[in-house]
């Protein structure tokens, strides 16, 4: 319970250690009434052990675990499934704790959007891992605009692509190839966590290469681990273009930046959020669990 309202934890089943360690942490600290577990059938084999562990954790504290199947390759069906569960829980009046650590960004955005529209008081949690694997994901699928968060695109306007970059520069290139932007804004994560400086060292050189190819490029620093997760930096960067151009935004870096991007989209309704699904995730995606960062969603007025 939270105040007088039941607490529901939303989380996404994963084979990563931080999924089950994080769930234990949240359950022990917050004693939720239920856990909504997003699960993806294609990962069934390697998530099986954590699924059973999660069920045990919930049973021990007497909270219901409710698996919700989200077909990863079918965004329409996933959206409907999340919509159905949010509609149901909002009718009974709950508060939500959204664990975004292992949740695909598209699902995070959909959940935030529907929870906000339902007026559900929402907090989020993100468990940092102790370390990341040598590679995280590959086989990227066609980027797509997030449902209902596609913005309001104008005919004849330039496309501005704002990418919060990750370690993999090819993902950024894929977005550029897909959307053919006139302007590219690259948000580069600051700090030295997880070898960030070394793994990101090519970003500024890359921007020079893009400029030579005719793109207007601007790099700007962003810190997903700051209090606002980069919201201020991103908003400042895009506001020059917000009135007249079509702005698409993608989060490829630390997952907390996806919360910041969501907030930017809600502030600037003309902007659209882009998600790039991956065909394959590294079994050694991450190890262990570090700090848990939490925050509250300020359901804001939009422009």
């Amino acid at each position: 319970m939270h105040g007088s309202r039941p607490l529901v934890v939303f989380t996404a089943l994963s084979w990563e250690e931080r999924f089950i360690l994080g769930l234990k942490r949240l359950v022990s600290e917050h004693r939720p009434d239920s856990v909504i577990l997003f699960q993806y059938g294609r990962e069934k084999e390697r998530t099986g052990p954590n699924w059973h562990e999660a069920a045990k954790v919930c049973q021990e504290v007497g909270c219901t675990m409710r698996p919700i199947e989200l077909p990863y390759a079918q965004p329409i069906d996933s959206w409907r499934a999340i919509h159905a569960v949010v509609e149901e829980i909002s009718r009974i009046g709950v508060t939500v704790l959204l664990d975004i650590s292992t949740m695909p960004r598209e699902a995070t955005w959909t959940a935030l959007f529907l929870l906000q529209r339902a007026g559900v008081w929402t907090r989020y949690a993100y468990h940092m891992p102790r370390s990341y694997g040598a590679w995280l994901s590959r086989d990227p699928k066609t980027p797509r605009l997030a449902l209902k968060l596609s913005g309001q695109m104008r005919f004849g306007a330039k496309t501005v692509l704002c990418v919060l970059t990750g370690f993999d520069r090819e993902r950024t290139h894929q977005l550029i190839r897909t959307f053919d932007p006139s302007v590219v804004l690259l948000g580069v994560q600051t700090g030295s966590q997880f070898g960030n400086r070394e793994r990101n060292s090519g970003s500024f050189g890359e921007s020079e290469r893009l400029r030579k190819e005719g793109y207007k490029v601007n790099c700007f620093p962003v810190d997903a681990y700051s209090d606002d997760h980069g919201f201020g930096a991103i908003a400042r960067e895009i506001q020059t273009y917000a009135e007249n151009e079509n702005i698409l935004m993608a989060s490829l870096g630390p997952k907390l930046s996806s919360v910041a991007l969501y907030r930017v989209q809600r502030r600037y309704l003309r902007t659209g959020l882009v998600y790039t699904p991956s065909g394959e995730y590294n079994s050694d995606y991450s190890r262990g669990i570090g700090k848990t960062i939490t925050g509250e969603m300020p359901w804001m007025e939009s422009k």
Binding site: D139, R144, L147, K148, M153, R171, Q174, F179, L269, E280
Partner: protein, 580 residues
């Protein structure tokens, strides 16, 4: 004139200003004539083949600029408007939350509005062609179709643009609501808005004889509902009012079904222009076109030299090729003393590069690839592939501080060779990251495509050294196209095609009168392997099962021809396409 500006920009014609498009465009007479007609046209070609440039040049704004430059009157007989399909709007998915009917309605709404917006935007360049009375009448009529008065503070065509924009935004807002089936109930269509709009414009005297060319760029991006709508418009019998010029990539070619389930037919409903050119020697259409493109680009920065002078051949390469040609000629004349000059000449043409490479020391560095001819061949018939290495060569020169006031007299052959080798390595590096760059390419498929190209490289190298009559063939056709094999092989070839590492073309088959598909690896791959980047107009016939096996790392069988084969120097075992 300073030569600091790089004239070889190769990305996105749509990013260029109208002035630059008008300046850089080279009129390929056959394409221009076909486009400026009442025929529906499909322009097909991969990224960089010049589709957008072709469409853009034929739009009203650019034509107006060109005519003004020529001090000529603008002909309003053909009014072209570019309608780009690859915009953020095309990537929306909300229509998939709706049932099929409503999905098709809202998809056509956006498409029709895009057409009206861009056509009106183009017409805005000649808004002064309307009299006051004509504008007033048009305003009244269009308000009826939009079911709303048009903004008054601006000219009619800008007002139409604003209305189209407004309708599009309102529909997007309606689709963005949290309800599962958010729908826009005021949807417009091609028949309810675009056609009446064009008819209404034609009532004005200046446009009475006008024909509207609706130029849809990147049509492969349209959703299935929009493709059906487009095909339905292509199937319209009456082409007096408008025609459609549709640019699309070969990969992901839109389906041909209409909204009522019929098919549009080539020849009857539309014509196709293949923007990729199979033949790249100096005398071919593409060779001449390439020279004109580069000459125009050089002129734009005050360089008056010909492309051949600007991109001169390295003296060591030139002398090596001359020596190889002489050696080949002597041998041919000795072995076939009765062969005529043409046969000998053809033979020398086919064998020179192979002879040159065979005779080099195994310890020698890779050849000093240089010369405009080499650049033209390396392009593999795609104009962007020609401009890209030129772009990087220019950049390399500009880094040299001794360039002084910026005047560049030519690209030194040593720089050309370095850049060509660099770009070749970049192409091979792309093969290592296909799973990161090509949608739907898994890690396993990426490895298989890479292995396939490695084995093709080895195969073609062996041909280069051992094939007597067609040593420099670097394209291939597939024999034994068993469906089981092709089901596994086609996806890999498609990945390579989408990565622009492989081009799929059509040409005459062995059997008289038949045509077949053949496969041309991007020729930029060959310099880093020390191979002949010119290739030949012959193609190797390889069993499909062997190409599939190559993707698993197995060598493609090649039988070294020995003297006991008694192989005629001039015989060809594969089809040789006629040299233009």
């Amino acid at each position: 004139m300073s030569t600091r500006k790089n004239p070889f920009v190769y990305e996105q014609a749509r990013l260029m200003s109208d002035e630059v498009v008008a300046q850089y465009y080279i009129d390929d007479h056959s394409h221009g004539r076909l486009l400026r007609s009442r025929r529906n046209i499909f322009l097909i070609g991969e990224r960089g083949s010049g589709k957008t440039m072709e469409l853009l040049y034929n739009t009203l704004p650019i034509q107006k600029l060109v005519m003004e430059g020529d001090n000529s009157n603008l002909d309003l007989g053909y009014i072209g408007a570019l309608v780009p399909a690859n915009t953020p709007l095309i990537h929306r998915q909300e229509h998939d939350l709706l049932d099929r009917f409503r999905a098709s309605v809202v998809s056509e709404h956006f498409f029709a509005l895009a057409i009206v917006f861009h056509l009106s935007e183009a017409l805005g360049f000649v808004a002064d062609s309307l009299t006051v009375e004509e504008e007033a009448a048009l305003r009244t009529e269009l308000a009826f179709y939009f079911d709303s008065p048009l903004p008054h503070q601006t000219d009619i065509f800008d007002a139409v643009c604003q209305m189209a924009q407004h309708e599009s935004i309102e529909a997007q807002k309606a689709l963005n609501v949290p309800a599962v089936e958010g729908m826009y109930t005021h949807a417009l269509s091609f028949s309810s808005l675009a056609v009446p709009f064009m008819r209404a414009v034609k009532k004005a005297a200046a446009f009475r004889e006008s024909h509207f060319m609706l130029m849809i760029d990147d049509a492969h991006m349209l959703n299935p509902y929009q493709v059906r709508s487009l095909n339905s418009w292509i199937a319209y019998r009456d082409r007096s009012l408008f025609s459609l010029k549709v640019a699309t990539a070969k990969v992901g070619l839109p389906a041909r079904k209409t909204g009522t389930g019929g098919d549009i037919l080539e020849g009857h409903d539309f014509l196709t222009i293949d923007m990729e050119r199979p033949f790249h020697n100096e005398g071919s259409d593409f060779g001449k076109f390439a020279a004109r493109v580069v000459r125009r680009r050089l002129e734009s920065v005050g360089v008056s030299k010909s492309p051949e002078e600007f991109f001169s051949v390295h003296p060591r390469l030139a002398s090596g090729l001359r020596a190889a040609a002489e050696s080949i000629r002597s041998r041919a004349m000795k072995e076939m003393p009765n062969a005529g000059n043409k046969r000998i000449g053809d033979y020398v043409y086919r064998q020179t590069w192979a002879e040159f490479i065979r005779k080099r020391s195994p310890q020698a560095n890779r050849p000093l690839y240089s010369g405009f001819s080499t650049l033209t061949f390396i392009s593999t018939g795609v104009i962007r592939n020609l401009l890209e290495p030129c772009f990087w060569m220019w950049e390399a020169i500009m880094k040299d501080a001794s360039v002084g006031d910026g005047r560049i007299k030519g690209i030194p052959p040593s720089i050309q060779a370095k850049v060509i080798l660099d770009r070749s390595e970049v192409a091979w590096a792309r093969l290592r990251t296909l799973d990161m760059t090509i949608d739907g390419c898994s890690h396993r498929d990426a490895k298989r495509v890479r292995r396939l190209f490695e084995e093709l490289s080895v195969y073609f190298q062996r041909r280069l050294f051992h094939h007597r009559s067609e040593p420099s063939a670097t394209s291939f056709s597939l024999s034994g196209r068993d469906s089981g094999v092709m089901n596994q092989l086609s996806p890999l070839l498609s990945i390579a095609q989408r990565a622009q590492l492989l081009y799929i073309r059509e040409g005459p088959a062995k059997t008289m009168g038949r045509r077949e598909l053949y496969y041309v690896p991007n020729r930029i791959l060959w310099p880093s392997r020390g191979m002949d980047p010119h290739g030949q107009h012959a193609r190797a016939s390889i069993m499909a099962k062997d190409v599939l096996a190559a993707s698993e790392g197995r060598a493609i069988p090649f039988h070294v021809q020995t003297s006991s084969h008694q192989h005629n120097l001039f015989s060809t075992e594969e089809v040789t396409d006629a040299r233009e």
